[in-house]
């Protein structure tokens, strides 16, 4: 396609991307460098049905004047990025100097909100993504091998987890693992511990969310792999059968290399999706045990009566940076292949 027509084809999509993705990201970036103005507090008499007392309120007149002059707030540079609720540079160096062992240091750093969320997010990403790829591939292979007559209904059943709204899907599992739900109650009997609670145990909550993640994302991998399997040429497969190749050898040496670009694609999308894990945490009410980067942003924006825009913006920008870092190896590899193909 000539560059000119490519440009006009791409133009509407590009414009929408700049307007609805590019500009908001820039605005978020700018926001993250600002903090609120110093609050001007004055003592006043407050009366309510339970009595009167003197205490402080925000002085609106003085505040509105400052706000009019500088509506964005007080410039804070990277102040928000390095405070305790984010990268916590001061705390980390303090822990480093006062900790006696590496284990103690890691324990202390893991207690900081940002690192706590990062650890969960990465764990989730690292476990769920390969499981999704593997499971999706196995399902696709099996379905591809069975009779065409029952394939339709089976495919439908397989993609059901993806059709179910994430929140509903997680709620169903949430009720099942309740202390009186089918899984929760049976686990108590199985482990012979009447006080066992999946929801209050950190490890079990993580496992539940990860299992849910695999369950929810596998159909996507399956659909893409299944489509790719339809394009695998039959001749080399038949030739290898004649040569006496086992099923495993056929998959390893013919099928996999053929659908390799698709695997990369699914891996990329899954990594991105998993890095932004959010709904299951809300669905499972797992805020106590598992926090992800996306949840931190949500928490800053809605969970408090005071909205922390700067804090949320800084976390968002760091999430974007995080995704870029995770995707780099895959992207580099794709780029290299692209170059060699030319």
């Amino acid at each position: 396609m000539p560059n000119r027509s490519f440009f006009w084809f791409f133009f509407p999509a590009g414009l929408a991307m700049i307007l609805f993705i590019g500009l908001p990201i820039i605005s978020t970036g700018i926001q993250s460098f600002y903090a609120q103005h110093d609050q001007i507090l004055i003592e006043v008499k407050k009366c309510d049905p339970f009595g009167c007392k003197t205490s402080v309120v925000v002085d609106q007149e003085a505040t509105s004047k400052i706000k009019e002059e500088k509506p964005l707030g007080k410039f804070n540079g990277f102040g928000t990025y390095i405070d305790r609720n984010h990268l916590a540079s001061d705390q980390v160096s303090e822990f480093w100097s006062e900790s006696k062992s590496v284990g103690e240091f890691i324990g202390k750093v893991g207690n900081l909100p940002f690192y706590k969320a990062l650890v969960f997010t990465l764990t989730y990403c690292v476990i769920v993504t390969p499981c999704v790829l593997l499971l999706g591939f196995i399902i696709a292979l099996s379905l591809n091998a069975i009779s065409r007559k029952i394939r339709g209904p089976l495919i439908f059943g397989t993609i059901l987890p993806m059709i179910v709204t994430p929140l509903v899907g997680s709620l169903v599992l949430f009720w099942m693992i309740d202390a009186e739900g089918i899984i929760g109650a049976n686990l108590q009997i199985l482990m012979d511990d009447p006080y066992l609670s999946v929801k209050s145990s950190k490890a079990l909550t993580w496992i539940t969310i990860i299992i849910y993640g695999v369950w929810h994302h596998s159909p996507f991998a399956f659909v893409v792999f299944y489509a790719a399997l339809q394009t695998v040429p039959q001749e080399p497969l038949e030739a290898s059968i004649i040569d006496g190749a086992s099923r495993f050898q056929r998959v390893k040496h013919i099928v996999l290399p053929h659908i390799y670009p698709v695997v990369t694609f699914v891996a990329l999308i899954s990594l991105m999706d998993n890095f932004r894990v959010f709904e299951p945490i809300i669905g499972f009410s797992a805020e106590g045990s598992a926090q992800s980067l996306s949840w931190l942003i949500y928490d800053n924006l809605v969970n408090e009566e005071v909205i922390l825009f700067g804090s949320a913006a800084a976390t968002s920008i760091m999430t974007i940076v995080g995704i870029s870092i995770i995707l780099t190896p895959v992207l580099l590899r794709t780029w290299k292949e692209f170059r060699t193909n030319r």
Binding site: L41, F50, V57, A179, E287, G288, I307, L308
Partner: protein, 406 residues
């Protein structure tokens, strides 16, 4: 004949027309939390809407909607039904208007004590009071020979006895859901221990002390007697636990008693449920509970006509003797003519015992938020009480700095 008919009709509908506050213009749009008393109030306000537009949003997520919706100009809502804590972000951001003029003009039935004044400016009109207090199952207590607990130490002892008797596995319940609910329990218990959240009137935190540790230890003891899923249980969830007969002693909002004691569910449990005073803790005199008011505020970013229409409709409800007579068991109304019934026991006892109101301070929301997420690990047993309190203070300080309080 025709004349008589008209007169008769007039007489018949005269009473209805009476409720009409003769509002001719403007539009009214209300944002409120979702529980029965507020629904009754809004319905009463609707009676007198006249020819004004009338819309209402009842949502449990009201706190998340309020600030963005009122920041818009014109604001989405003309009325926000708020409480001690939720009025603070509105005042911090200057989103509600003083209503002295309207009170003077249209606030005839409103009592002086209903007005929430800040520096003489009327920022809200309260209509009901609320608190968290104990609910007990008299049948279970009697069966085990336990007196109605007056302190949290007695609650722990009673719950342990019930558990030891094999009657219930998890005899105690309170809304310990990580986040706002859990933080609220801490606030109650800390105030019960006589704690102050900030150092001498400033914004420096003051919870990492012996009282804070005692508070956390008491919460942990109670949590161990609760359903192990307590970190996911909000007020609604523990209400369900209660109605299933799994719980014998519970700390719950007074405003939830209406639906707890309605005709739905097991009649035996409902009959044995008794509302009693909030408990004290650690030998203190004041209850480990906070007093709350619910009241209405007017959005600043709305026209004067809307504000006037909204005020008149809401003031009609907030001074309606008929409403408080009809809905006497839904809430502890602050409206003139309210006769307290058995469901008001908790709040009235709390006031008598000298319970403190929830601190209406500009930085309290940040403290509340920090508490909700940082004390979880202590309850899970992964952290010491001192470390948890240190984390709360550190998280609070960081947020307070970003918000310009420190």
């Amino acid at each position: 004949m025709k004349k008589i008919l008209v007169t008769l009709l007039f007489l018949l509908f005269g009473t209805v027309a009476n409720a009409d506050c003769n509002i001719k213009s403007g539009s009214i749009n209300i944002l409120a939390n979702d529980f029965p008393a507020l629904r009754t109030l809004v319905e009463t306000a609707k009676e007198c809407k006249g020819s004004a537009d009338f819309k209402v949003t009842h949502s449990a997520e009201h706190n998340k909607i309020a600030v963005p919706a009122l920041t818009a100009n014109p604001s989405e809502f003309s009325v926000r039904v708020a409480a001690n804590s939720s009025i603070v972000p509105l005042m911090n951001a200057d989103l509600i208007r003083p209503m002295n003029d309207l009170v003077k003009k249209y606030g005839k039935g409103i009592q002086e004590s209903q007005l929430i004044t800040i520096d003489g400016k009327v920022m809200a009109v309260a209509f009901m009071a609320n608190t968290q207090h104990l609910y007990v199952r008299t049948d279970v207590l009697e069966e085990n020979g336990i007196a109605i607990p007056k302190t949290y130490e007695e609650v722990v002892a009673a719950a342990e006895k019930i558990r030891a008797a094999g009657k219930m596995k998890y005899p105690y319940a309170a809304a310990y859901k990580a986040g706002w609910n859990l933080a609220e329990e801490f606030v109650n218990m800390y105030i019960g221990h006589g704690g102050e959240f900030f150092k001498d009137g400033g914004a420096q935190p003051n919870i990492n002390n012996a009282k804070g540790v005692a508070t956390l230890n008491m919460l942990k003891k109670l949590a161990d007697l609760s359903n192990p899923d307590y970190l996911t249980h909000d007020s609604e969830a523990i209400k369900v636990e209660w109605e299933s007969g799994n719980v014998a002693i519970m700390t719950l909002w007074a405003s939830r008693s209406g639906t707890l004691l309605d005709d739905e569910g097991d009649a035996n449990i409902t009959a044995a449920t008794k509302l009693v005073a909030p408990a004290t803790v650690g030998g203190g005199n004041i209850p480990a509970a906070t007093l709350w008011w619910d009241g209405f505020t007017l959005a600043k970013n709305r026209s004067d006509a809307d504000a006037e229409a909204s005020f008149r409709a809401m003031a009609h409800a907030a001074s309606s003797k008929e409403m408080v007579a009809k809905a006497a068991d839904q809430a502890v109304w602050l409206v003139e003519g309210f006769v307290p019934g058995p469901k008001s026991v908790g709040v009235i006892e709390a006031v008598k015992m000298g319970a403190k109101p929830y601190p209406m301070l500009p930085q309290m929301g940040l403290m509340h938020g920090a508490l909700g997420s940082e004390i979880v690990e202590f309850l899970q047993g992964n952290e010491s009480a001192e470390q948890a309190l240190k984390d709360v203070e550190a998280a609070y300080i960081t947020k307070a700095k970003e918000q310009g309080f420190l």
